[in-house]
């Protein structure tokens, strides 16, 4: 395997994980719920739900107000709160690596940005006038706000960035962070995605696209990737953050290493604003790039945490893309979609699912795809359902796919690093 063609100062490893999701307020609770197939989808109780066709979503399991002090909460969009909570967990998990601030970076993505702040501020403007609009409104609503919050917290001065590529944003942040380290701009980069868009406007917009499940009376069964009965995704919220550093840096400080980000692949479809390329050409190129840049073969891929959001078109398009990318080796990879339990975290999805992919590799255990009862005939993949699947030992790859409106495709390939 040609990660050896890279030096230890170019190989990028994961040393810290952090998350706040619909399944739990941290990585451990999120991962155990994923393995157990416990859903985080709920019926929303807000008054505004009645005006929408969709009454369900996957809110975070632990409210930020239970963790952060009120003055801090009031100065951050909800997406920034999630990012700060997850970043603190990831940073502590990595052993709070000490480095010059000029060598520390942050890349935290969001699909939609501070949409709840924006819309609440507009309500305030209309109802109470310009003077009541909070002075922190703009810093709170800007999509780079969460990255900036984490950058301030970690005193990161090598650069603070925010890729925006809809539902692939979180994965793109990790790919960007890898590039940032490999190009020599930073030694340690905290990267991931955050999203807080459970608000009537985004819900109405996605519902207008017919992208959302309306299985309102069965919230826990609504997100059902690959199942014949799937009728759209369930909007989730939360954040996933990882700490990345060079193998050299991690070993020098004796850090615990979860996995190597062995390969990354990014492509774009130039096909349609909101629909996947039906043969998955762009998505498959991203996957092939990820495998190739890992110096690996398709047959090395033993597990894929798929993008599969539970939409009728998207899930099948990804099947085509995986087959196109892995060819004859497709059947050697077991596929999971953890969105069956988390819902779709948009710009945080890629990062939360990267964490699930890393932990699947660590535990050699692929999580089940919840609610897959009657697989779609066009889903010609080995999808994990029911119980977690044991993954083979050895020098194998686990891959995470993320795709976004606009035709964005990102694939990340992880590999275990021998001690």
């Amino acid at each position: 395997m040609t990660s050896s063609r890279l030096t230890d100062s170019q190989r990028v490893v994961v040393t810290g994980l952090g998350a706040t999701t619909p399944l739990g307020g941290d990585v451990a609770s999120t991962w155990s719920a994923m393995l157990a197939g416990q859903s985080g989808v709920k019926v929303l109780t807000e008054d505004w739900v009645e005006m929408l066709p969709v009454h369900i979503a996957a809110p975070v399991a632990v409210e930020p107000s239970e963790i952060l002090p009120v003055p801090q909460i009031k100065r951050m969009d909800r997406s920034g709160q999630f990012a700060l909570i997850a970043a603190r967990e990831a940073w502590a998990d990595a052993g709070a690596p000490e480095d010059e601030p000029e060598r520390v970076g942050v890349v935290i993505a969001s699909g939609i940005g501070g949409v709840t702040t924006l819309l609440a501020a507009y309500d305030t403007l209309k109802e109470r006038g310009a003077r009541r609009v909070l002075p922190m409104t703009v810093p709170m609503l800007m999509p780079n706000g969460p990255a900036a919050i984490v950058g301030l917290e970690l005193r990161a001065r090598a650069g603070v960035h925010t890729p925006v590529s809809a539902c692939s944003s979180g994965a793109e942040a990790i790919a960007y962070a890898v590039d940032m380290i490999r190009s020599g701009r930073a030694d340690v980069v905290t990267a991931g995605g955050t999203e807080a868009a459970i608000h009537p406007l985004p819900l109405a917009g996605f519902a207008a696209m017919q992208a959302l499940s309306t299985r309102n009376d069965e919230p826990e069964r609504a997100s059902r990737p690959y199942d014949k009965g799937r009728d759209g995704f369930v909007l989730g919220e939360g954040a996933g953050i990882v700490v990345l550093e060079t193998l050299e840096h991690a070993r020098a400080r004796g850090a615990r290493i979860y996995a190597e980000v062995a390969g990354t692949g990014i492509s774009s479809d130039a096909h349609h604003m909101a629909q996947p390329d039906p043969v998955g050409a762009g998505a498959s190129r991203a996957m092939m790039q990820a495998v190739q840049s890992a110096g690996a073969q398709p047959s090395d891929v033993v597990h894929i945490n798929a993008h599969a959001t539970s939409t009728p078109i998207g899930d099948v398009a990804e099947v085509q893309a995986i087959r196109r990318a892995l060819g004859d080796a497709t059947d050697g990879a077991c596929v999971s979609s953890t969105k069956g339990v988390t819902g779709h975290l948009l710009g945080a999805a890629g990062a939360v699912e990267a964490i699930a992919t890393i932990l699947a590799l660590r535990d050699r255990k692929a999580p089940p795809t919840a609610n897959l009862e009657d697989p779609d005939d066009d889903v010609t993949l080995d999808v994990v359902r029911g119980e977690p699947r044991v993954l083979p030992d050895g020098d194998v790859l686990a891959m995470n796919n993320s795709f976004g409106f606009g035709g964005h495709n990102v694939a990340l390939a992880f590999r275990a690093v021998p001690a």
Binding site: V70, P71, Q72, K74, R132, P135
Partner: protein, 82 residues
């Protein structure tokens, strides 16, 4: 009936606490908003707007600049609401 000086101070301390987390007991007449309480201009504007609402007064932006201590603000609000 207009609020007393003590009532204004207590109300202002609550607003400052809610915005910044500074304990209400630390918000005293002789404290400077910037030098002692370390309140930045963005927080100051939020405090002013919340004080306007609470005490039913209007504090124009030009006048805010003259309110360097908590006592200045208490006196201003007391006069404006008299």
């Amino acid at each position: 009936m207009a609020a007393s000086e003590q009532e204004i101070l207590a109300g202002l301390a609550e607003i400052v606490n809610e915005e910044t987390g500074i304990p209400t007991g630390d918000v005293q007449q002789d404290k400077s908003f910037t030098d002692d309480l370390d309140i930045d201009s963005l927080s100051m504007m939020t405090i002013v707007v919340n004080a306007e609402e609470k005490f039913g007064v209007r504090i124009p932006d030009d006048d805010v600049k003259g309110l360097s201590t908590v006592g200045d603000a208490v006196t201003y609000i007391q006069k404006a609401s008299a």
